[in-house]
């Protein structure tokens, strides 16, 4: 993949990101933050490549172990806590009783 192709992907992804994220309502900004937090845990993919390919080198092994652990904590923690928050968001159970209009 050439650098410029990577830049094309970067620009398109940034645009999609801005459009999609500007649609998230204020109400959900905390889950948005923890959710995107989980998504950047995708560096675990890089960490796995580093650690898995480490041909015994100490530097790569140590860096890789820590990076995989960090990444895993980031991913799991992020998605779990976001889910915990989102499951609490509920509509009013019964049809509206006109208590706010």
């Amino acid at each position: 993949m050439s650098l410029i192709t990577e830049l094309v992907i970067l620009v398109l992804a940034a645009w999609v990101g801005i459009e999609v994220i500007s649609k998230v309502p204020q109400m959900l900004h905390t889950p948005l933050m923890s959710g995107t937090n989980a998504i950047h845990g995708v560096v675990i993919v890089g960490a796995i490549l580093v650690l898995g390919a480490a041909a015994g080198g100490t530097v790569e092994t140590i860096c890789g172990i820590v990076a995989v652990a960090f990444g895993a904590a980031n991913v799991v923690g992020g998605f779990v806590v976001t889910d915990r928050m989102l499951q609490m968001f509920r509509r009013r159970p019964e049809p509206p009783k006109e208590n706010q209009g």
Binding site: Q26, T36, A38, A54, V59, G64, G71, V75, V81, N99
Partner: protein
């Protein structure tokens, strides 16, 4: 070849899942499903990476992932909703650290392969992710410390701070540039350590209540570091995911700064404000202005006869963990035929949307929550506004006093209502350290005390009426 194609396709599917997940966050009805879709995307990406031909040993991966994942899950299940900012800071730091470590070992691999200098793309991406990742790691940990009150919340400053930070940044960049042309591990380690120090010394001077902005900013940084890792590894999934996070962090940083009527630069370099809501308290003018109090029992009587009550929760409500009693109060009043709604300011609480999470935790249905734009036209028809642990977000100086530091910040205009009741512990000012004339308004009554205690008392009194 065949396997690599499948892996690439799996990455594409994962990227699609991430985008779809964020898209579904646009409504509380689909949001949970969206988070799940993103998580599935992550799983697909991880499995695809595990079957990559370059991955040979699995033992360490399994151990590290198990340990990291368990800790992550444990913390995420245990954490209090009020501690969400700390958790997000911590997770953000971990991501940044991982990105930096990957960069460091990529650099080492290049050196071990006998190369003397990095190619341009690799140099820029490795250095970016090593430095920005390190800054994000250290900065996030400091933010975590401040929010968890392991560190003092007030701005910690020292002489020639900006100059020293500036110098540090120049040195780090110089080292990184030199290290790109002369591969030598200790050079990069030095640069990374300096970047860690830079992260610490950049975040220490920022006040505790500005930490959410810092976290959103560092979130964007971690995202971009992940994207840089993607450039280094030639992996489009990392680029896409990193950039998505970068976009989100950037938008949230701007949004918060705007809601606080300050520039992003002012937040990040301003050494502004106190430890978040508990500072100063000295009246700017020094005059003794009238303050009228009300007792919980009097208020209870008023509330049950009101037609329309609006509740404005703020930072203090989150600190006092008073979301459950406030929900109880609202239910009691609704039972008695009072119309009750919550008005949520965009920067109420400790991070954007935090108030909504806290109220959702206490089972307040989200269609009872009004955003600022919806609530403001309602105040003139409101009998009683309960301002609970909120201060700056209802300060009329933002609207009326051109000399106030808050001037221009959009507020909840509670002073348009019939009666205003303010729940707080003292006459201390809020985060911005500005006196609030609302407390001296003839239509305002103060109910002093911890919000949780006051509300529990109030609930009892309402039940007794």
């Amino acid at each position: 070849m065949m396997r690599d194609d499948l892996i690439e396709i799996a990455y594409l599917v994962a990227a699609f899942c991430f985008i779809l997940g964020l898209r579904w966050l646009s409504s509380p009805r689909t949001a949970r499903k969206g988070n799940l879709v993103a998580a599935v995307g992550m799983l697909i990406a991880i499995v695809a990476t595990l079957v990559d031909g370059r991955v040979v040993g699995y033992t360490w991966i399994a151990i590290a992932a198990f340990v990291g994942g368990s800790i992550g899950a444990l913390v995420a299940r245990r954490v209090q909703m009020t501690a969400m900012p700390q958790l997000v800071a911590l997770l953000n730091g971990l991501g940044g650290g991982a990105a930096a470590l990957i960069a460091v070992s990529e650099y080492h691999v290049a050196g071990a392969a006998g190369e003397e200098r990095l190619g341009a793309v690799l140099a820029v991406s490795v250095m970016f992710s090593a430095i920005v990742g390190s800054i994000s790691f250290a900065g996030s940990l400091v933010a975590f410390g401040k929010l968890q009150e392991l560190l003092p919340g007030r701005p910690i400053t020292w002489p020639a701070q900006k100059l020293l930070n500036g110098l540090g940044a120049v040195v780090v960049l110089g080292l990184a540039a030199y290290a790109s042309f002369n591969i030598n591990d200790p050079l990069l380690w030095l640069a990374a350590v300096l970047a860690l120090l830079l992260g610490v010394s950049a975040v220490l001077p920022i006040g505790g209540a500005d930490m959410p902005v810092v976290i959103a900013f560092l979130n964007a940084c971690t995202g971009l570091a992940a994207a840089a890792t993607g450039f280094a590894l030639g992996n489009s999934l990392l680029i896409i995911a990193g950039v998505l996070v970068g976009a989100s962090g950037t938008l949230l940083t701007q949004l918060m700064s705007k809601a606080m009527n300050r520039s992003v630069a002012n937040v990040l370099f301003g050494a502004f404000g106190g430890g978040g809501g508990s500072s100063s308290g000295v009246s700017a003018s020094g005059e003794a202005l009238p303050v009228l109090e009300i007792s919980a029992s009097d208020l209870a009587a008023q509330l049950v006869y009101a037609r329309r009550v609006m509740i404005v929760p703020g930072y203090g409500l989150a600190v006092a963990q008073a979301q459950h009693p406030v929900r109880e109060l609202a239910d009691l009043l609704i039972e008695r035929g009072v119309s009750v709604a919550f008005a949520i300011h965009p920067v109420a609480g400790r991070m954007p949307g935090h108030m909504n999470v806290l109220l959702a935790e206490a089972d307040v249905p989200y269609d009872q929550l009004l955003e600022m734009e919806e609530a403001n036209p309602d105040f003139p028809q409101t009998d009683i506004v309960l301002v609970i642990g909120a201060n700056d977000v209802v300060n009329p100086a933002a609207r009326d006093d051109e000399n106030s530091p808050l001037y221009g910040m959009p507020i909840l205009e509670v002073d348009n209502a019939e009666n205003v009741i303010v729940f707080k512990r003292s006459m201390a000012s809020g985060f911005a350290g500005v006196e609030n004339m609302l407390f001296h308004d003839p239509k305002t009554r103060m109910l002093f005390g911890d919000a949780r205690k006051s509300l529990t008392q109030l609930v009892q009194d309402v039940q007794a009426v």
